[in-house]
C-alpha cells in the first residue's frame, strides 16, 4: 500500500466521523424545538343577517341605494367636469399647436416651398436656355448641312452638265476647220504668251 492509498483511507475515515457528529447535533436540536409551548387559536363566528331587523335592513338598503346613486351621480358629474376640462385643455392645446407649431411649420414649409419653387424656376430657366441654345445650334448646323449638301449636289450637277456640254461642243467642232478665220485668235494668243514662248525657246 503506497502513501496515496493511505491518504485516501484516512480521508474517508475523517469524513465518516464528521457525518456522525453532524447527525447527533441535528437530533439534539430537534428535541429542543419540540419541547417549546405552541400558541392557542380562538375561532369567532358572527352572523350578519341577524344583527339588524328586517325592517331596518330595507331602510338600510334604501339609504345605501340612495347614497350609492348620489355618489355615482357625483362621480359622473366630476367625470363630466373633468372630461370637459380636459377637452377644453386639449382644445386650447391643439389651438396653441395650430397657432404656434403648425403655423411655424407651415411658414417653414412655405419658405421651403418658395425656395424649391425658385430653384425649380432657375433650373427650368437654365434648362430652357440650354434647350434654346441647343435648338439654335442644331438649327444652324442643320441649315449648314442642308446648304452644304445642296451646294455639293449643285456642284456635282454643274460639273456633270459642264462635262456634257463641253463634250458636246468639242465633238461639234468637227473637222470642217477654217484656219483663216482662226488666224486672228491664234496670233492674239501667241502675242499674249509671247514672253513665255520666247523664254522657253531661247532656253
Amino acid at each position: 500500500m503506497d502513501s496515496l492509498q493511505l491518504t485516501l483511507v484516512i480521508g474517508l475515515i475523517v469524513m465518516a466521523i464528521i457525518n456522525a457528529v453532524s447527525l447527533v447535533w441535528a437530533f439534539l436540536l430537534d428535541r429542543k424545538l419540540k419541547a417549546r409551548p405552541s400558541p392557542k387559536v380562538y375561532e369567532v363566528h358572527v352572523d350578519g343577517s341577524k344583527v339588524f331587523k328586517d325592517m331596518d335592513m330595507s331602510e338600510v338598503e334604501k339609504v345605501a341605494h340612495q347614497q350609492l346613486q348620489q355618489i355615482a351621480s357625483e362621480a359622473a358629474q366630476r367625470l363630466k367636469q373633468s372630461l370637459e376640462n380636459s377637452l377644453d385643455e386639449v382644445s386650447v392645446h391643439v389651438s396653441d399647436m395650430a397657432n404656434t407649431t403648425l403655423s411655424q411649420e407651415f411658414e417653414q414649409y412655405q419658405v421651403s416651398l418658395q425656395a424649391l419653387r425658385d430653384q425649380s424656376i432657375q433650373e427650368f430657366s437654365k434648362l430652357q436656355q440650354e434647350l434654346d441654345q441647343r435648338r439654335v445650334q442644331l438649327t444652324e448646323h442643320l441649315d449648314k448641312v442642308i446648304r452644304e449638301e445642296g451646294e455639293k449636289r449643285l456642284a456635282t450637277f454643274d460639273a456633270r452638265l459642264n462635262d456634257v456640254i463641253s463634250s458636246y461642243l468639242v465633238e461639234s467642232l468637227g473637222t470642217q476647220v477654217d484656219l483663216g478665220a482662226q488666224s486672228a485668235y491664234i496670233f492674239e494668243t501667241l502675242q499674249a504668251h509671247k514672253d513665255e514662248i520666247k523664254r522657253d525657246i531661247l532656253a
Binding site: 460639273a159 459642264n162 468639242v170 467642232l173 476647220v177 484656219l179 488666224s183 491664234i186 514662248i197 525657246i201
Partner: protein, 163 residues
C-alpha cells in the same frame, strides 16, 4: 555674214535641202572655175537651175550666184543656223496654207528669234486653235482646251440666267 532667210523657208527640212543644193552648186562653181582656168576662158555661171528658196536666201543676203566665196560663207551660215536655230512645232486642226505659214514664220522671227524654224502637223481632235511645242514645253491654245479648261463658265452662265 548675216543670213536673211525668207519666210517661205521655215522648216529644217527645207533648210537641209537648200544646204545640199548650195553645196552642189558650190561644187559646180568650183568645177567651172577650174575649167575656165585650164582653158584660159572667162568663167561662166553654172547652168544649174537654183530653187526659189535658195535664190531668195541669196538675194536676201545680198550675194550673187557667181561669187563662190560669198556662197561658201552663206553655206557655213546656213549650216550654223541648221545646227543652232530654235525649232517650234505647231499642231493645228488642219494644215495651214502657205500664207498662214508665212505669217506664222514672220511672227516668230520678229517676236522670238530671227532664225526660228518651224514644223507643222495636223491634229483634228483639237477643233481649232494651235498646240505649240517649244523646247520641252507644250502650249495648248486649242479650242478643245479652251472649252474644257473653262467649262465651269457654263455653270456660271446658267447661274446668271437663273438669277
Amino acid at each position: 555674214m548675216s543670213v536673211r532667210m525668207p519666210n517661205d523657208l521655215y522648216s529644217p527640212d527645207q533648210l537641209s535641202a537648200i544646204i545640199l543644193e548650195l553645196r552642189s552648186y558650190l561644187a559646180q562653181l568650183h568645177d567651172g572655175a577650174v575649167r575656165a582656168k585650164t582653158a584660159h576662158t572667162p568663167m561662166e555661171a553654172p547652168a544649174t537651175h537654183l530653187s526659189a528658196l535658195l535664190m531668195g536666201v541669196m538675194h536676201g543676203t545680198g550675194i550673187t550666184t557667181t561669187d563662190s566665196a560669198e556662197a561658201e560663207k552663206l553655206l557655213k551660215g546656213l549650216e550654223a543656223i541648221r545646227d543652232k536655230a530654235p525649232a517650234v512645232h505647231l499642231m493645228m486642226a488642219a494644215l495651214p496654207n502657205r500664207t498662214l505659214k508665212r505669217q506664222l514664220t514672220a511672227w516668230f522671227r520678229a517676236e522670238v528669234h530671227p532664225y526660228t524654224l518651224m514644223t507643222f502637223a495636223v491634229r483634228m481632235d483639237i477643233g481649232g486653235g494651235v498646240v505649240m511645242q517649244a523646247g520641252s514645253h507644250i502650249y495648248d491654245f486649242s479650242f478643245r482646251q479652251q472649252i474644257l479648261g473653262n467649262k465651269q463658265r457654263i455653270s456660271e452662265i446658267f447661274a446668271g440666267v437663273r438669277q
